[in-house]
């Protein structure tokens, strides 16, 4: 069952949100996203899947306040998101964002630069975050000495240390191999349970979305809109072994059914553009 902590309303809400990139260098304006409506409940694990180039990352950047919406409104905890990263939102990107000149502990502490904490409290928060991602033994290592998966965990710890209420992840495991990805998925589920944060995960892997999320939003080809929202009804206590569950296959199949035509469009095999699956 989906467990929802606290009030269900007004955590994150997007209404009629769209993004058009202005014409530049003789190219026509690009309608990247929307219009799109989305309500996220506090504490849920929401995943977004969609064909490549459908505007998934643009959607994340809109929520993170990295880029302004062309139309519609975005609100996080009742406050509009406008051109600045909202307090309480953390982001983990696909690209390695660890800082190679700092050791792991300093990388994580970097997340607290703006926080008004005394030294002891900072150290404790860093220790806790490192323990959460299982990197306690690597506090004095440099990112170059770590594997790709461990570097991504450094970035996750740097986000967790800020104790965000909403964590946005943009294909954070995209560069990792399949086995590592499954295990990182387990870790992510554990972090989600232990931190009580809300997770918004963008992925292109249908199985990853089906295994991790409470709800999965399926996006259309560009301009990306939500064409389906699938509820998984997994228990809150779960891990990657859920892929043995008979329901797992059914969910993945439903995702693919919604996505197949959209994906074909992006490889130039689609029907009339703009057509939606029911």
């Amino acid at each position: 069952m989906v467990t929802v902590a606290g009030d269900a309303r007004g955590f994150l809400s997007l209404r009629n949100v769209g993004k058009v990139f202005a014409a530049r260098d003789g190219r026509a304006p690009l309608h990247a996203l929307g219009p799109l409506d989305l309500e996220l409940e506090r504490g849920e694990f929401f995943a977004v899947v969609g064909p490549s180039g459908c505007g998934k990352s643009t959607l994340l950047e809109l929520i993170a306040g990295l880029t302004p919406a062309s139309e519609g409104s975005l609100e996080f905890e009742g406050r509009p998101i406008a051109g600045e990263a909202p307090e309480g939102i953390g982001v983990v990107f696909q690209d390695d964002a660890s800082l190679p000149w700092l050791d792991v502990a300093d990388n994580v502490a970097f997340g607290l630069r703006r926080a008004n904490l005394d030294g002891e409290e900072k150290k404790k928060r860093v220790r806790d975050a490192l323990a959460l991602v299982g990197l306690s033994d690597f506090a004095t290592s440099y990112p170059a000495q770590l594997s790709g998966g461990m570097r991504q965990r450094v970035c996750i710890a740097r986000t967790l240390v800020m104790q965000p209420e909403l964590i946005l992840l943009d294909e954070p495991f995209g560069a990792l191999d399949q086995q590592t990805r499954l295990l990182m998925g387990d870790e992510l589920l554990r972090l989600w349970r232990e931190t009580h944060a809300t997770v918004f995960l963008i992925t292109h892997a249908l199985d990853e979305a089906a295994m991790l999320a409470d709800r999965i939003g399926v996006m259309s080809a560009r301009p990306g809109r939500l064409i389906d929202v699938v509820e998984t009804r997994w228990p809150r206590e779960r891990d990657s072994r859920i892929i043995e569950h008979p329901e797992f296959g059914a969910i993945t199949a439903r995702l693919w059914k919604s996505l197949r035509r959209e994906s074909m469009k992006t490889i130039g095999r689609g029907g009339n553009p703009g057509a939606q699956e029911p």
Binding site: L66, D95, F110
Partner: protein
């Protein structure tokens, strides 16, 4: 020490040994050059007597001033140009051809404008060094991953914090390359202009010793400059290697 380093040392030692032999055998007469062991002795005596301290101090302080100016101006200009695309596109070809211009040709002009003091020498050192710093700073900033800029915005760092804590450290290995070049150029600029027209400094003393057939002063000073640049460059290279090894390159 690695095997290559030993070979390198052997080449240098061999060259010095050969010079020593040629000098002792009289193939090179003593009015042309003194034997290396005599140069070493004269250098030691010169340093102990302290008679060159004023000259060495003047050269070092002018070089340091030229270097600091080149670094501050170079990094600041590089960071600024990185944000001003149009201006950068305008200036890029000028930077590319900059080192084709013999800056020393401006020395008479500098003397006319700035007088016979230290300023023209410092300016030449600065002018030689600053463009190397600008070019390498730009190169480094170009290579800062886009994801770091996004991370800085997510963390709501101020523009100054973003530059000092994120972009410049990320570009540091490239900026260090600029620093190394600037050190060399500052030395070349300052000592070179001391040669041409100056009343002091190591370059002036070498030139003076040369015109008065004072080999016992000229060669030790040349060796001193050689040693100084080798030591400074090795120190910077070691620092660069430490920076890079931490990042898993090399």
């Amino acid at each position: 020490m690695s095997r290559v380093a030993w070979y390198r040392l052997a080449v240098v030692a061999g060259a010095i040994g050969l010079l020593e032999l040629l000098c002792l055998a009289g193939v090179i007469d003593k009015f042309t050059m003194q034997a290396p062991h005599l140069i070493a002795r004269d250098l030691y005596r010169m340093l102990v007597s302290g008679r060159m301290n004023t000259a060495i101090g003047k050269t070092l302080s002018n070089t340091l001033l030229a270097l600091v100016l080149a670094l501050v101006m170079g990094i600041a200009t590089g960071a600024l140009l990185h944000r001003l695309r149009a201006l950068r596109d305008t200036l890029d070809p000028l930077f590319a051809t900059y080192y084709a211009v013999p800056v020393f040709a401006f020395y008479p002009f500098f003397i006319v404008v700035f007088g016979l003091g230290d300023l023209p020498q410092v300016l030449i050192g600065f002018m030689l060094g600053v463009v190397a710093v600008i070019v390498n700073t730009l190169n480094g900033l170009d290579r800062v991953p886009a994801v770091l800029a996004k991370t800085a915005r997510i963390m709501r760092l101020s523009p100054v914090d973003t530059a000092l804590r994120m972009t410049l450290p990320s570009a540091a290995p490239y900026i260090v390359t600029g620093v190394k070049l600037a050190v060399a150029y500052a030395f070349i600029g300052v000592i070179g202009s001391e040669f041409i027209m100056s009343r002091g400094g190591v370059g002036y003393e070498i030139s003076f010793a040369y015109t008065s057939f004072d080999n016992a002063t000229m060669y030790p000073l040349i060796v001193l400059i050689l040693l100084a640049s080798v030591v400074i460059n090795s120190a910077l290279s070691a620092w660069e290697r430490r920076l890079l090894s931490r990042r898993g390159k090399r």
